[in-house]
Amino acid sequence: MTKKEKVKQIIKKRPLRTPAEIISPVREIKLDSFQENAINYLENGDNVLVAAPTGTGKTLIAERIIEKVLAVGKGIVYTSPIKALSNQKYRDFSVLFGKDKVGLITGDVSLNERALLLVMTTEIFRNWCFANPEMMDNISHVIFDELHFLDDRERGTAWEESIIFAPVHIKILGLSATVPNIKELASWISEVRQQPVEVIIEKSRAVPLELNWITPEGDVLNESEAEDFITQFSEKRKGRTESSFTSGSGFSAKGK
């Protein structure tokens, strides 16, 4: 490192923090009650929809049911909305369940197609539902991750056709972000597949959120302060642009 670089580094700002705060992501052993419930329903052979905020542990439900299905020698399909995510899941599951147990089928990649656990894009699963349902005789479950993609203008169709035409012996586990009409989705699936669908709703976040707003001066405000600030700021700005047409960019200098 040259002297000049050293100087440059020293004058850079550093955040207030302690040097070592490594937290390794702990895999929770104990299940929350909503996870417990979902797994129980699935073990009873029900279809299940889970609506829960991100980070509450929907993935854990998926992993547990995969474990159970693999243990009895049945097949299971995991579908994800984006290719990059499918690749990622394939890698994760390979570590968890062993590379020989996992296959990956997206439009442009196809690995270990005969594995019991198949990671697919939803489009591929949809195609199988039309073209080769007989290839899915041994498959007992399909997991739809990010089920709320049903509402996607371009791609929702793949989810709908999958749900409507998945062979009847395949049970569905749908994982969704928080949506207000998850029960409606369940009763639709129940009607179109002529099977009961259980619903699990987890409202509270594992970690609650706190929304804040940051002003042009860098001050942190809460919601009502932010609303007041914006009203006042907009009025002030309107006033100023009317009275000082000629001052151009003088506004930012005066603002301080």
Partner: protein
Amino acid sequence: MALLSNSPSCSQIIDSIQEHLPALYFTFSRGKTELLAEELSIEWDFLLPHEKKQVNSIISQAELLQPGLFGSRRQRLKEIITQGIAYHHAGLPPALKDLVERLYENRLIFVLFCTETFAVGVNFPAAATIFDSCRKWDGREFRGLINREFFQMAGRAGRRGFDPVGMVYLRIDKRFPEQTGFYNESLVEPVRGRLTISPNTVLSLLYWKTDNEINRLLDQNLAVYQNNKEGRRIRLELIEIKEALSGIGSVFCDQLDTAYCYMFRSNLKKEFRSLSRKNQRLRIGTKERKEEIRNLLKRPQKKCHHRPCSEAKRKINELTEKKLRLERRIRTLGNHSRDYERDFNGVWDLLENLSYVDGRELSARGIFALHLHVQEILVTEMVFNGLIRDGQPALVAAILAGVDFVPGRDDYVVPCPHDLREVETLCRSLIRSGMPETMCVWSSLPGALASAWYQGCTFEELQAMTNFQEGDIFSVIRREIDLLRQIERAAGKDIELVSQIEHIRLKLDRDEIAVPGI
């Protein structure tokens, strides 16, 4: 480089929230993630010496696996990563995205500037999420984020078992304070059915499904289900309104709407006053009507408590208005459920006109298109008129790269070395024969890239041919590989075609374009 004259600047924001790092800083433009990362790196350095060493060793390992990982274009990223700052968007080459994700998971990145895709799927939690703005281009228009989108992203804040709360920060932009977003998790939008009927759907239904199953898709899809449900609710409401209306009527006496009734008289008085206005006075018939009203009002008014009657009248008007609104809504819903049948029949007719089907029987073209999932008619036509089968492989690679490609305004690629006019002619003639333009989407623009990559050029050479970012070049070729695999499946026992296509695919699926890590 030019600094963003943003206020508050990202450096200011980090200053205010520095107790809540690591942070994901969301913006809705790739360019902006890069500019902001650059800007922050001028003032900030988050890593301690031993962490810098860690970063450097992770980088050298990755470079060992993929030499030239950062290329010429991402040297700055390599520098700022050692300060604990990075950016992540779809334009990055996948191997670099992986590297950034790995560093983030190892807690070596303190501020990550990223786009929406970072919040889909894999959970990368942070202490805080920051929104540079809450408006995005959704392919059609600039619009504010809806609650569902916002909380999908914001919810990345708060690491389980570590942060008591997840901090979310929304920037109030000095220039557009009125565009500041306000969100409420209890107002997250419901999921609506979005089924659309594509040629592939119709072919698949006709070939593989029974009439009953076809009807199930058309009559029981989510949109129809939701419409029916709403329809049932409205019908119940209409019955209630009807009952309420007939109940209210009993208040009136039999002199309602006669000159003895208070309400009728006050209406007459109102009319009289309006007829006396200047603009009415000279109209034909005004004089006579005024005389008539005067005579009617000469009659005595019934002595009664008119208040209940006025109340009832007001209520009736209100309910009638609501009834009309609901009846209109019922009609729209009815039209919608017929839409699916109409769409299905429309596409079926089109397929019949193009000789893909005859009734429920699929022709050779129809069977071929059954295996295609993007621009299925256009690609089938390319194959059946010989463009794909007889073309030189490099030319075929160029043609197929353009399928379903919509060039952006500023996209640039060197001109294609092949003559692609035949494809343009094909598209034009299909559109003339009644194909909707959305089923004929093709562009010559990416052709040169696919052709050069087929012929074995390096990724650096590809980059020199275009202003596409690495990730975009990657996805153009990966999408073509996807399409080639579909065509191989469609070709089935046509060994010549299969080997032509497979040959091209294997030439394309190599080096930087191969999917990393699997």
